[in-house]
């Protein structure tokens, strides 16, 4: 599997990309664009088992362990949320469970959209991060047990 750069480095890259935009429209359009580029999730995974609660929109997420690294796949019926997932997957997918559990994801505050993305419960950002970390913990426990 291709080696991903460390989490903080990807976070810095994303922050730099968002710094290119000085108004909210461009930032959101970029985020929406990221969502559009998210690889589609197989419909078989769009069920209750893979649904993340705590979002106004519906989010489905699946993870797998490949060569000691976690790979996430996800989708949503809302575009901005899809952009958020896409961004989180870019940062966390392909990383080790330990790195994912420890990631502080400070880039979310740094991209200048905090007032929306971090504070409101409705966009489910926190629920998504929580689920990604829970999956990482579960994979780590499973790996340690075997």
């Amino acid at each position: 599997m291709e080696q991903r750069p460390p989490i903080p480095q990807i976070e810095d890259e994303i922050v730099e990309e968002f710094e290119l935009f000085d108004n909210w429209e461009d930032k959101y359009e970029y985020l929406i664009d990221m969502g559009k580029k998210l690889p589609p999730l197989d419909n078989m995974h769009k069920d209750d088992e893979h649904r993340i609660r705590g979002c106004q929109s519906t989010v489905w997420m699946v993870s797998e362990l490949r060569d000691g690294q976690i790979v996430y796949h996800a989708d949503s019926d809302a575009m901005i949320v899809k952009g958020l997932i896409s961004m989180l997957i870019r940062v966390l997918s392909g990383q080790t469970p330990q790195d994912i559990i420890q990631a502080d994801l400070g880039f979310i505050d740094r991209i200048g959209m905090t007032s929306h993305l971090a504070q409101t419960r409705s966009n489910g950002l926190r629920a998504m991060i929580k689920q990604m970390k829970l999956d990482a913990t579960a994979w780590q426990l499973k790996a340690n047990a075997s």
Partner: protein
């Protein structure tokens, strides 16, 4: 023109309307969730704490007398506002939700038998569903649901067919919070009474827009919230017919609601205090009077006329937006335009509108059974108050056009 309001003067009474959001003038169109508060309400809260804060009813000193008088004056103002026969029938609660819970719990526990039927409608807010499910589960009662058509319209014929000798109570929303549709509560009450069933009217959305006369409606219970009527949060008014309230057991035990307490047994206070256990929300009840006076001062028919014009203008302008569909687009509604845009999730609209200073509500509006029936994940809801303007409707439409462009 008679009853015409000076909206700029009205706006001047609401300090929050002067603020900006994300660098733009606030356009507040989430009034069905809660309205903003006029200066008179804010002053009444401050005035109470700065001038005569004291616990009520039992105190012997001047402050307690003043606080008690102010608290009870609101009760009289509320009585007049909904035209109840007596202040004994006006119970202060925390809001509509608590009012419905009080009736479901107290009346339901004393009166429901296994197999008894409770009728609700598909349009109910969760607050008028869950309390009944809880008491129904406890007592073995059965909940029947009045269907709606594809536009969200309450099916009166189907309601009449659901009424039976086992129907004990009908609990129905006066105005739908999600769609703004006005329900034929007068006819519902007549039909239910003919079968010997009681009726609770959920007035959370109607009280701020329609003239409420509980005696002419002849409803058995009526519940509403101050905060949706320009008043503070944390205050509700529950009306109940005296004969029913007298026979109902207390809802909660504690101070205020007792006559005499001993470990051999306790006797309860008279109405309405029997249902007001503990120190109430005195400051906000006091300030509720200012909110009721605000509405009476402007006149509900004048307020309604202004709001109707906004709804009609907003509906016309929004129909110009490609792919936009108004949900519940029928005559006979108040204050609300609920809509979806083809292929765009309401949450995306809500976020992009907020970035343009426009506050609306998106989601299921605490009416999941209704959304399921309409086959929607949720809607976008713009809801209007007396202080909104045509200019704000234009701002909404411009913001919607921009959001649609960004998302397509």
């Amino acid at each position: 023109m008679e009853g015409r309001l000076d909206i700029e003067a009205v706006r001047g009474q609401f300090p929050i309307l002067g603020r900006s959001v994300k660098g733009r003038a606030l356009v507040y169109l989430d009034n069905a969730a809660t309205t903003q508060k006029p200066q008179s309400v804010i002053d009444a809260i401050t005035g109470y704490y700065a001038g005569y804060n004291a616990n009520i009813h039992r105190g012997i000193h001047t402050l307690a007398e003043e606080a008690t008088a102010a608290f009870e004056t609101t009760r009289e103002t509320a009585r007049a506002f909904i035209n109840a026969a007596s202040t004994d029938e006006i119970i202060f609660t925390r809001g509509t939700t608590e009012g419905i819970n009080l009736v479901a719990s107290s009346w339901g526990r004393a009166n429901l038998q296994p197999g008894d039927e409770i009728i609700l409608s598909t349009l109910e807010h969760h607050s008028n569903i869950v309390p009944w499910q809880m008491i129904a589960a406890e007592k073995g009662a059965v909940i029947k649901v009045v269907p709606i058509d594809d536009n969200g319209v309450f099916q009166f014929d189907a309601f009449e067919k659901l009424l039976s000798g086992r129907t004990r109570i009908v609990s129905i929303v006066h105005v739908s919070n999600a769609l703004g549709l006005i329900h034929p509560v007068e006819a519902v009450i007549r039909a239910a009474h003919a079968k010997g069933a009681l009726v609770l009217v959920d007035g959370a959305q109607s009280t701020v827009h329609l003239d409420i006369d509980v005696q002419s409606l002849d409803c058995d219970f009526f519940a509403c919230s101050a905060h949706k009527c320009y008043g503070p949060t944390g205050v509700g008014i529950l009306y109940g017919k005296r004969s029913l309230l007298e026979d109902m057991p207390p809802y909660q035990g504690g101070g205020e609601m007792i006559r005499e307490v001993s470990f051999r047994g306790t006797t309860y206070n008279d109405l309405p205090y029997k249902f007001e256990a503990g120190t109430p929300n005195i400051a906000d009840v006091v300030a509720t009077r200012a909110a009721l006076d605000f509405m009476t001062g402007l006149g509900k028919s004048a307020m309604r006329a202004h709001e109707d014009k906004l709804v009609s203008y907003a509906s016309d302008r929004m129909r110009e937006i490609p792919g936009l569909r108004i949900i519940g687009d029928v005559p006979g509604k108040v204050s609300v335009v609920s809509f979806v845009i083809e292929g765009i999730h309401p949450q995306d609209i809500g976020i992009l509108l907020d970035n343009q200073g426009v506050a609306i509500r998106t989601g299921h509006h605490c009416t999941q059974p209704l959304m399921e029936r309409l086959g929607l994940p949720g809607t976008n809801r713009a809801s209007f108050a007396v202080y909104n303007t045509r200019g704000e409707v234009d701002a909404l439409v411009t913001a919607l056009e921009k959001a649609r462009k960004m998302l397509s």
